[in-house]
Symmetry: C2
Subunit: 351 residues, 2 copies
């Protein structure tokens, strides 16, 4: 496919640890409920309708870029499209989050999973990526993404969010073999899915291991890390030029291992000290993050001060600025702007 030339490759260069004239910045969940224009569109359509309609997904993806001078777009989609493609029904319940009417209960339920035909079952994601990449017109690179195997497994067994994720963690202790079977099957799908996202237009990829922090260091090493590594290796073999970001929220204990796992960029949540993270990763990877999203409740001048401290702690190179988790639905868009502009002005020396 031929796409418009990229005019802002800051994020891609930072991901490759090439010098950048300033720090690139984007925001996890930058296309979302905190934007009135998103809420206006969602008032008419269900969440998964937006996800499955390439024109709507592209429109929502581009909304934050129309407002803010962001250095990346991230396709509007959901990590749970993969469990859907594997045969599980997923509903998005207002004010409650995702809900699986029939989650996986016991190992014999693995028989209920199907092997998806990626091109047709997830074709709407690829169409959305291609359309967005066209409409983006090279203003910034387009990020594709997926959920990590452990995080998807957790949802598929738990059937939704949970305080303790007892059911999915019970699998790890009670059915370790079935857990590995499930994780392996999810991983196979994800590899194909990410490669196809690149072919459809994604210029960088992020793997969200949102529930990594539920695992002990040992459980992460056994049930999460090998699959994350396999994704990096196999996607990397097919698409060596596309940088891969891993965001294993809460896996503070695994930073060294993640830095050796084949991802060019490690996303940090806001509990990670940037200097300590630099020391522990020894300059081998680019770091992404990690301002506490709650900082955006502060007045813009406080946001600016906090950004200044964050940038100083990460240093001017090998850093992609972001929040340490997704922006909250009740955040003021003007405070998101304060964050983005502060990164660009301060790191660019205009401050």
């Amino acid at each position: 496919m031929v796409f418009p030339p990229l005019k802002n490759d800051l994020l891609l260069r930072a991901a490759r640890r090439e010098p950048t004239e300033r720090t690139p910045v984007w925001i996890m969940r930058q296309a979302g409920r905190y934007l009135p224009e998103y809420r206006a569109l969602r008032a008419e359509d269900e969440f998964f309708t937006v996800v499955r309609t390439p024109e709507l997904a592209a429109e929502v993806t581009l909304q934050p870029l129309a407002r803010f001078p962001l250095d990346a777009a991230i396709i509007f989609s959901d990590i749970l499209v993969v469990p859907q493609a594997m045969g599980l029904e997923v509903q998005m319940v207002k004010g409650k989050g995702p809900h699986f009417p029939r989650p996986l209960g016991a190992p014999e339920d693995l028989a209920r999973l199907r092997t998806p035909d990626i091109a047709s079952d997830l074709g709407y994601v690829f169409e959305a990526l291609t359309l967005t990449r066209q409409q983006l017109d090279g203003r910034a690179p387009l990020i594709g993404f997926c959920g990590a195997p452990w995080t998807l497994m957790a949802y598929m067994i738990e059937g939704g969010g949970s305080k303790t994720f007892s059911r999915s963690k019970t699998w790890l202790f009670r059915y370790p073999e079935a857990s590995h079977t499930l994780l392996g099957r999810i991983t196979d799908v994800l590899i194909e899915y990410l490669v196809a996202q690149v072919e459809a237009g994604a210029q960088a990829l992020q793997v969200f291991d949102s529930w990594a922090g539920l695992l002990s260091p040992e459980a992460f090493e056994v049930f999460a890390l090998p699959y994350l590594r396999r994704i990096a290796a196999e996607v990397g073999a097919h698409k060596p030029d596309v940088p891969k970001i891993v965001f294993a929220r809460g896996a503070h204990y695994a930073l060294e291992a993640l830095a050796e796992s084949g991802y060019e960029v490690i996303g940090l949540d806001w509990t990670m000290d940037p200097k300590e993270a630099r020391r522990r990763t020894g300059g081998r990877v680019t770091l992404q993050g990690n301002l506490d999203p709650a900082t955006l409740y502060a007045p813009p001048e406080v946001i600016r001060e906090e950004v200044k401290k964050m940038l100083a702690a990460f240093g001017p190179q090998g850093h992609i600025a972001n929040l340490g988790h997704g922006i909250h639905p009740d955040h003021d868009p003007e405070h998101a702007r304060a964050f983005i502009e502060a990164v660009q002005e301060i790191s660019g020396g205009d401050a």
Copy 2:
């Protein structure tokens, strides 16, 4: 007060880093909903009625000790008795948790807080401790506890549990001075409260900073650590022989600082690697924890294997075995027994 002589001082010796013939063990929330005898009692009484009735609190505290050979009792109470004593109403809503009908909204609401008369406002806790200590008859030491200043502040502003604790974190960024005023007032109360708990019979103290993990390392250093330190220093000055445990859940980044903060014991959640924690604390403190509570969903033989690994990682001295968080309401009491007995048998060389 004269109490029956202590026949099992393993926990106290371990806390002082004196040699112990085996590793002592207790379980966070060991008196609680996973026990049928607790549910039977609670069927008749409201949560805070149990907390406020010394005979019932003592009965519930001793329930797990009647079943299991535990090395400590912990008084049945709640960290929110302190906000109550400071003038805020707190209800316990079934299946939902604590609820404050009128939480603190803005700094001017600090005027609504009163300075409690500890002896009378929290007299029921002291009576419960004294009664329990008598009935415990020296079988194991009795632990008193409180919530840490930041954790109590978070509840007082949030009004209950929350996914992001946005309101309380907003205070830190928007009203830092009022936050320090509030934290200081809570700390004053806690110091007096803990000292009085010792006078009433508590033989060790635990401070629960349950929401520490919501804070960035910098916010923890500014808004949590100074108050934790002050508690340790002032309670320690009054009661130098009573070991103090701090459990700052999720504050993985603060382990070194906590090891220098005046507490004899640092509680670890299950995301902390025991060997790494030993290295980082350099043998200066005793460590408590930290089996993933979800391990108790596994069959007893798996629990035993996991305990064996945990004990090997912590080593035989300077360790108090526990879960890395409270036991879950749906855990099988017999699996709690498997945990307790595995610790005692394996560390005692009977395995």
